[in-house]
């Protein structure tokens, strides 16, 4: 978490009311994700709206990429944020970055919808070790750009294997069958692709 977000969190804690509800549009805009979730626990709908504004693009883009259907993607978007509204306490900072966490949940739900299966992963079980600060629009933009650059720099076959696994929910067997590549090759490409992403964000 960057210093900027910590400072925003401090100001918020000093100025918020007796309950967790937020007051003042400026303060809300600067509130940390955790503060907004705390306000949601008190039923603060404006906090929900702020978190939606902050992360709906990521959630919707992932769902749309997986499902290729705007209506179905909107359903996933609705489902993910309603789950967060109903149980904001399910997320805490130990689960990783909220934006990345919501992205994983959206991807898992979209894959479940794509495969017309019941949800396989409970959101309470999702933990992501992602450090980049994405609470601010600028930070989100930088993180997204970095990922796109890393993917663009990968060999096409590697990026394709990674994307088939992530956005299409295919197993390595299915990817191998679809591409005609050996199973071992698919495994190695996927692993190498993830390691490339890690390396880019570690630097």
């Amino acid at each position: 978490m960057g210093l900027g977000q910590s400072a925003r969190g401090l100001v918020f804690v000093l100025l918020k009311g007796r309950d967790n509800r937020l007051s003042g549009a400026d303060l809300k805009a600067g509130a940390t994700d955790v503060s907004l979730l705390g306000a949601m626990k008190s039923g603060d709908q404006s906090a929900m709206a702020l978190l939606y504004d902050r992360y709906s693009s990521i959630v919707y883009a992932v769902a749309l990429r997986v499902l290729s259907d705007t209506g179905a993607a909107e359903d996933v978007l609705q489902e993910v944020f309603m789950q967060l509204w109903r149980n904001p306490g399910v997320y805490d900072s130990s689960r990783g970055n909220l934006g990345a966490w919501l992205g994983v949940i959206a991807r898992n739900r979209a894959i479940d919808n794509l495969r017309k299966r019941r949800p396989e992963t409970d959101i309470a079980d999702v933990v992501v070790s992602v450090e980049p600060d994405m609470a601010g629009e600028a930070e989100r933009g930088r993180a997204m750009e970095k990922v796109r650059v890393v993917l663009a720099s990968m060999p096409t076959a590697q990026r394709s294997a990674l994307e088939m696994a992530y956005f299409e929910g295919l197993t390595h067997t299915e990817i191998a069958a679809k591409t005609g590549e050996p199973l071992g090759t698919i495994k190695t490409r996927i692993r190498a692709g993830l390691q490339a992403l890690r390396k880019a964000f570690a630097s």
Partner: protein, 254 residues
């Protein structure tokens, strides 16, 4: 991952949910006992999460937010209306509980009071019996019809005699006299309590009946005065504050 290289590729697939079948089962079994592989899996899931950021496309339509916020508001109202229902359920429950507790409390109070009433009734009955006995004693002692007999040595002439019974703690005195000589007109006998220290204290006036009998029952006396003796003098009919000599009868405590 040294020593676990055979699972390295499978860990990446598992992070993506792309590993199935026996390979997945074998890896999950291995993970149960391998902390380093669990840590690596956690890192791989973080790496995988970054892939979400690569998705590009249009922003969600405004209707999606409207729909969400409408559902949020609806659930908020539902939460708000749940409370009264909850309270409506709680109020009678608490009322019933309070009634039961109060009933138990009053039942215990009532039971306790009933016991106390029974004790008081028993005490009252005992006191009434004692009082009745005391009345009988006093009635016997003071009855004009009572046959009073003073036994003296044979052939001795009857002598005036008085008997004072004094309980200092209760300042209670009963005096009985017999064979008292008749008084001159406008005179009375007066009984005196002679204290251990100090002047004689008036202890009541009396006039004997035709047979020379008289009683003094519970005259007004100061509290707790130790008595050395009792004495009788003849005083003016209204009594005196100090004895008028001579003392016609006297007696010390036994």
């Amino acid at each position: 991952m040294s020593g676990h290289e055979q699972f390295a590729d499978d860990l990446a697939l598992l992070a993506l949910g792309a590993l199935q079948g026996d390979e997945r089962k074998a890896l999950e079994k291995h993970l149960e006992g391998c902390a380093s592989c669990r840590l690596e899996l956690e890192h791989l899931r973080g790496d995988m999460a970054l892939l979400a950021l690569s998705a590009t496309g249009p922003a969600p339509p405004q209707r999606a937010k409207d729909r969400l916020m409408k559902a949020v508001a609806k659930e908020s109202r539902a939460r708000a209306t749940v409370k009264p229902r909850y309270l409506r359920w709680l109020v009678p429950w608490f009322a019933a509980s309070a009634f039961v507790l109060l009933a138990a409390f009053f039942w215990r109070q009532s039971d306790s009071l009933a016991q106390r009433v029974a004790e008081l009734q028993s005490e009252s009955a005992q006191q009434l019996a004692q009082l009745e006995k005391a009345r009988e004693v006093v009635a016997t002692l003071t009855s004009e019809d009572a046959l009073r007999v003073t036994l003296v040595a044979a052939q001795a002439p009857p002598q005036p005699q008085g008997k004072a019974i004094y309980v200092r703690d209760r300042s209670s005195l009963i005096f009985l006299a017999s064979n008292m000589p008749a008084l001159p007109p406008q005179k009375t006998y007066e009984l005196w309590l002679i204290p251990v220290t100090g002047n004689p204290i008036p202890a009541g006036v009396f006039k004997p009946d035709a047979r020379g009998s008289a009683t003094v029952i519970e005259p007004p006396l100061p509290a707790g005065v130790p008595a050395k003796a009792f004495a009788i003098t003849v005083e003016p009919e209204q009594g005196s504050a100090a004895p008028t000599m001579p003392i016609v009868m006297s007696g010390a405590g036994e």
